[in-house]
Symmetry: C2
Subunit: 456 residues, 2 copies
Amino acid sequence: MSSYDVIVIGGGPGGYLAAELVAGAGKRTLLVEKEQLGGTCLNVGCIPTKSLLHSAKLYKHTTSSAAHGVTAEGASYDWPAMQSWKDGAVKTLVTGVAAMERRLGVDVVHASASLVGPGQVAIGSDIHDTEHVIIATGSAPVMPAIPGAAGNPRVVDSTGILRLVEVPERLVIIGGGVIGVEFAGLFSMLGTTTTVIELLPEILPFADADVAAAVREGMPQVDFQLGCRVLSIDEDKVAYERADGTGGTIPADVVLVAVGRRPLLEGWGATESGLDFSPAGVRVDDRMRTNLPQVWAVGDVTGRVLLAHAAYRMAEVAAANILEPHRAAADGQVMRWDTVPWAVYGEPEAAGVGLTEGQARSRGLNVVTASVPGYMSGRFVAEQGVSTPGLAKVVADRDSGRLLGFQLVGPYASEYVWGAAVALESEFTVADLRQVVVPHPTVAELVREATWALKF
Amino acid sequence: MSSYDVIVIGGGPGGYLAAELVAGAGKRTLLVEKEQLGGTCLNVGCIPTKSLLHSAKLYKHTTSSAAHGVTAEGASYDWPAMQSWKDGAVKTLVTGVAAMERRLGVDVVHASASLVGPGQVAIGSDIHDTEHVIIATGSAPVMPAIPGAAGNPRVVDSTGILRLVEVPERLVIIGGGVIGVEFAGLFSMLGTTTTVIELLPEILPFADADVAAAVREGMPQVDFQLGCRVLSIDEDKVAYERADGTGGTIPADVVLVAVGRRPLLEGWGATESGLDFSPAGVRVDDRMRTNLPQVWAVGDVTGRVLLAHAAYRMAEVAAANILEPHRAAADGQVMRWDTVPWAVYGEPEAAGVGLTEGQARSRGLNVVTASVPGYMSGRFVAEQGVSTPGLAKVVADRDSGRLLGFQLVGPYASEYVWGAAVALESEFTVADLRQVVVPHPTVAELVREATWALKF
C-alpha cells in the first residue's frame, strides 16, 4: 500500500492544520476525514453559531436602538435567509480548507480510518504505512439519559438545533455552559421565550461566579434556572427540581441538551492499538505525544481544552515536534495550557485567559484581584450607557506582582482578550501592563483600568 | 496666595489624569481648566464622535442587513435623539472626571491660567506658588486661509459639525486624516452625499498606502478626491484642482475643514515664561520635562502624538517622574513613542501600532512584511462575507526577527490592536507571536495569520 510520512485521522481544526504544517515542510501527508473538512468548528460549531448570532444581533439592533435615535417599523428576520448566509460562510471556509490542503500537497481521503499501531493506519481493508500518526478525531455532544428525551423529536443537541426549520416560540436549554449560553443569546434575541436550566449554582462554571453572574445579568431576557436538576421531558414539558425539593415544569417547543462534549474515542482503534486513554480523552504530554511512539493526538480528542484555537495550537506543537524534535522544546513548542483564552459570543460577550481567582487560590497563591465595571470605559458609555452589565477582572500574584489571569464581560471581549494572552505569554507584571498604551476610547481599556485598580 | 505642590494647566485627558495621579499620591494639587473638564476628547472629540458613529452604525445595520436575513421597513434616524444620547454620554463622563478629582482631593478651578515661570502660575491677578507645573493646554483645529471660508456659515470645524441642527444632504470634507475619515463614515452612513478632498495622493498619511487604500475601499459610499488642492469656497461650492490642472467644483450644504490640529500655545504664558517651544509644540524629553525646571508638558500641547491615550501615558510618565524622580526611569516610566497605537473608527475600523513599512524602511531596517486579507478570519467571513475589504499587515526586522509594527483594517480593529502593542512592548519576535493562542473565531486572528504569512 501507499506509504506516508504523516497520516492525520480527522479533518477538523487540529487535524487539517497539522496536515498543512507537516506537508508544507515537505512531509508526504494523508488527511483522512469521514465527513466534511473543517470538523465540528466549521460545520456545526463556531462558525455557524457566530454567523447566526451576528444576524440575531443585527435584528436586535434593528428593534432596540430607539435610545440611540434609530427606529424601524416592521422589523423582521427571515430564518431561512439567516441559514442561507450561514451556509454560505461555512461553504466558503470549508472550501478554503480544501484548497489549502491541495495547495500544500496534502492527500485528502474521505473515509473512516483506524489506528492499527505505531506506523500503521487502516482505511477500509487497506493498511497504510506511515512514520507518524496524528489522532484528531474530535468530540461529540454528550446526551445524558433523561427520561423522555430519547426519540422525542423536540429534543436536539448543538448540531440538531442548527437544522431547525423555524425559530421556536419556546426554547428550554439544559446546560449553562458556553454552548447553552450562546444559543440562549441567539434565540432570545430573535424573540424566543428562552429558559436555561443549569445544575450548578452558576452558569459558565469555568469562570469566577461574579464574572458569570455579569453575563447572566447582561441577558435579562433569558430565564436562568440555577441549581436545578432536570427530571424528565414529558412531550413538551421539561420537569426540574432544586436541591430543596421545589421545582416545576417549563413548556418547550424545542429542548436543547447542551451539558457538554466528550472526546470521540470509538471507532478508530483507540483500544485495539494499545493507546493510553480514559473517558476524559487520549492521554498526551505537553508536546502532544501519546504513549505510543510517533503517535500524536491533538484537539478535542485529548479532552484537555475543547476549543478550536487550542486545537490549532496543539497542531502546531505536534507538527513542530514531528519536524524538529530536538529544537522544538527550546523553541517554546510545547503547550502552555494556562495561556489558552476562552470566549463566549453574543450580547454581552465574555472572554478570559489564565487563572481565575478560584483557580489561583486553589493553587495556594497569594492572590490580589480587581474588577472594574464597564462604565469605566468611555466607549462602553458612548455605546452601551452606564447600566449595561460589563466588567474586567484581573487576578495577580501579590508576592511577585505577576499577572495570573483576566476575565472580561462586555462588547468586543472575544476580540480584545488576546492582548491579555500576550501579556501572560510575556510573563508581564502588573507594572508592565499598566505602561501599555491602549487606544482611547475602547472597551479594551478596561483591562488597563483593572490593573490600575489593583491594590498591593 | 495659596501654595501647591502641583498646578496643572488644562483639564483634558493629560491634565486631569496627571492631577489625579499626583493628588492620589498626596500632593496638594490644583487643576485649572477654563472650559469643561475632559477637554477636547470628552467634550468635542473622541467621545461624541464615537457615540454618533455608533448610532450611525445601528442605522446602517437597520437598513443594510437583508443578506443576513434581517429587514426593516420605515427605518429612520432621529438626529436630535442621536445628539441627546451623545450629550448624555458626554455628561456622564465629564461628571465622572469631576467626581474623581474631588475624590482624590484635587482642587479644580475654572479659569484661565498663565505660567509665570518655574514655580509660579497666575490665575487672574493672583500668583500661586507651586513646586511643579504641568502644561496640558491641548490643541485646536487648524483653519487654513481658504478664500471664501471665513464668515461662511456653511464652513465648520470638528467642533462645529457636532452642533449641526440637521444632517446635511451634501457634505464636503477637506482633509482625509482621522477626523475627516470618521465624519465621512458617520454622515455617509446616514445617507449624506459625502466627498473627501485630500491634498496628498492617499488618505490617512500616517499609514502605509496599501492600508489606507483598504479603508477607502471599505467606504464605497464616500467620494474620495485624492491629490486635490482646495482653491476656494464660493457660497455652497467647493472648488479644487489637481496637480495636472484638472479639477472641478462640488456643491455642499456643509463644508468640514479637517486639515489637522495644532498645539495651543497662546494665552498661557509660553513666550513670557521662557519656555522652549516651536509652532510644532512645547519641547519635551521622554520624561515630559520642558527646558524649565519642574515645568512639565503632556498631551497635545507637546505636538508629539495628538491622541488622548498618548496624553494619558504622558500624564503617567510626568506624574511618576514628579513623584519618584530617581526610580522612574528604572521603572520604565519614560515615553516609548513607537508603541503608541492609533485607531480610526467607523465601518471599517482601522488601527495600528509601531512602525509602518515606510517608516521601517526609512530607518534603514532590513524589512520583511506580510499582509493577509480579512477573509482569512472565520469570523470576518461569518459576519462580513469575503468581499468586504479588510487586512492585517505586519512589519518585522528580517535580521533579528523582531516585530516592528502592525496595521489593521476591519471590524474590531480598534479593540484588538492593543494586543499588538503588548507584543511590541514585550519586544516579541515573529516566532514568539506565532505561539500566542488567539480565540477562534475572531477577527483578531488576522494578526496571528499575518505573522505566519511572513516569509524569512
